[in-house]
């Protein structure tokens, strides 16, 4: 008769840790769901109450969908107000645009956004909003055509311009009864998207190379390309804000944001199907920056055994707090704390510069300090990997139970 093997103390310990981790993973999921629900229920603006800001003198407002009409005392029509929404860096940007009865833009106000405040402020300080009032309703209003985009907040400025165009379209069609051709959404597939696809492909091939020397060379090539192109040239690394936007349901239009889908979708796809993280070790621009610094001094990975668990949970804790804040307040850009844009775009607050300086110095002493102790993306990818493992176990058990007599 075969007796079941007696589990060793080590195995007991491993099982106990695994069940603890799974309990915490379930609690994390519960907290994320609660934060999501809170953010969903707490959102929303009373748009009509803000009309007096864009049409001065309005005392009465009528609303139909995204169009509002503003009246002076005595029922004199002062103007129209259109509400427009477009996808920005962290989620939808909403603007109210006041238009005179003759079709001239009177004013605009951003009534909601999910961008990083430090960068979104640039739109105001660099006079981006001041370009709109006085324009006619049929002006192109496109950055690079008749508007100056804001360096360092390109996505946000494009989102505001796009939202204004949509608001003006609503005013033109439903308020001024002017017919408009449908808005064209050309598919934007440029250099960043092409480079990203190439990096994925190179990472996929490089990961399978049998010879370590070539694998190492190819990895360095993708790392440097990632740092130079996705980092310094386009400032488009993966951020926690993207993950929170994804969870919040702030999915941008695919025609304008193929890069967003390729980067986030690609990582989710590879992590869930292959159980591997293709981004961090192969082409993360900030990881490459740290690794370059570490190579200069020969910095090694440092993870004292007695601090191992504490370091792991510190990193996970930071990621969890960031996700919960971002979801509960529906502000992905504000919850993201990585100093990526500070390095690649040379913009940031004192704290962001401080963090970048600290990580830069630490990178000379320890291998990839931000990636190994602080980055919120590694725990997110680990969490997906853990979910994948759990699911595979369940499927295996289900198959075993079906095949056993």
């Amino acid at each position: 008769m075969n007796s079941a093997p007696i589990p060793s103390p080590d195995m007991h310990d491993r099982r106990r840790r695994l069940s603890q981790q799974r309990l915490l993973a379930s609690l994390t999921l519960l907290l994320v769901l609660i934060a999501w629900l809170y953010g969903y229920l707490a959102g929303g603006n009373d748009i009509a109450a803000l009309v007096a800001d864009v049409v001065p003198g309005a005392v009465r407002v009528e609303r139909r969908g995204d169009l509002l009409r503003a009246f002076a005392p005595g029922g004199v029509l002062l103007g129209y107000v259109g509400l427009g929404r477009a996808s920005g860096y962290g989620g939808p940007v909403e603007v109210l645009v006041g238009v005179s009865p003759e079709g001239q833009v009177l004013s605009l106000r951003v009534v909601g956004h999910h961008e990083t405040p430090g960068f979104f402020r640039l739109l105001d300080s660099q006079g981006f909003y001041a370009q709109f009032p006085g324009r006619t309703i049929d002006a192109p209003l496109r950055p690079g055509v008749d508007l100056d985009a804001v360096s360092g907040a390109t996505l946000s400025s494009e989102a505001v311009a796009s939202a204004v165009r949509l608001a003006l379209r609503t005013v033109a069609q439903d308020g001024l009864q002017q017919s408009r051709p449908p808005e064209r959404h050309p598919i934007r597939f440029g250099w960043p998207e092409t480079i990203l696809v190439l990096l994925y492909a190179t990472g996929y091939v490089g990961h399978r190379l049998p010879e370590a020397r070539w694998k190492r060379r190819l990895r360095w090539a993708t790392l440097l390309a990632g740092m130079l192109v996705l980092g310094f040239l386009y400032t488009a690394p993966l951020t926690l804000a993207m993950v929170i936007s994804f969870l919040s349901g702030y999915w941008p239009s695919w025609q304008d944001h193929i890069y967003w889908y390729l980067l986030l979708g690609g990582i989710l796809f590879v992590t869930t199907t292959q159980g591997k993280n293709p981004y961090c070790s192969w082409f993360c621009p900030f990881g490459a920056y740290q690794e370059c610094l570490g190579t200069l001094t020969g910095a090694k990975l440092y993870r004292p055994r007695r601090l191992h668990d504490a370091l792991t949970w510190l990193q996970r804790g930071l990621a969890l707090v960031g996700v919960l804040l971002g979801l509960a307040l529906r502000r992905p850009g504000a919850a993201s704390y990585e100093p990526f844009a500070t390095l690649f775009d040379l913009r940031g607050t004192v704290s962001q510069w401080g963090l970048l300086l600290l990580v830069t110095v630490a990178s000379l002493l320890v291998y990839r300090p931000f990636c190994n102790y602080l980055c919120p993306l590694a725990p997110v990818v680990d969490y997906i990997g853990e979910g994948r493992r759990w699911l595979r176990e369940r499927v295996r058990q289900w198959h075993a139970s079906r095949s056993s007599p």
Partner: protein
């Protein structure tokens, strides 16, 4: 066993690095999240008023809006500023 760089001084340095970083991250969050998302965004406005005769002086900052009880047939919501 491979020699750990900077041991044992490194452990103190590492903890100092982590403590400072976490402090800075907390400060970044406070900076970002205490700015209201919509308020504080400057309204860009045409300096010249709308056509003569149609603009009345702007009322005092409205305390709020109340839906009227007589919505029109075509406009689904109707609001009036409390004056």
């Amino acid at each position: 066993m491979a020699r750990q760089p900077f041991e044992p001084l490194n452990q103190g340095l590492l903890l100092a690095f982590l403590a400072t970083s976490v402090g800075l991250i907390a400060h970044i969050w406070v900076e970002s999240l205490t700015v209201p998302p919509t308020h504080g965004v400057v309204v860009a406005r045409l300096s010249a008023p709308t056509p003569a005769g149609t603009v009345t002086p702007r009322p005092p900052t409205p305390a709020g809006l109340r839906p009227t009880t007589t919505p029109t047939a075509t406009w689904e919501d109707l609001y009036e500023f409390e004056r």
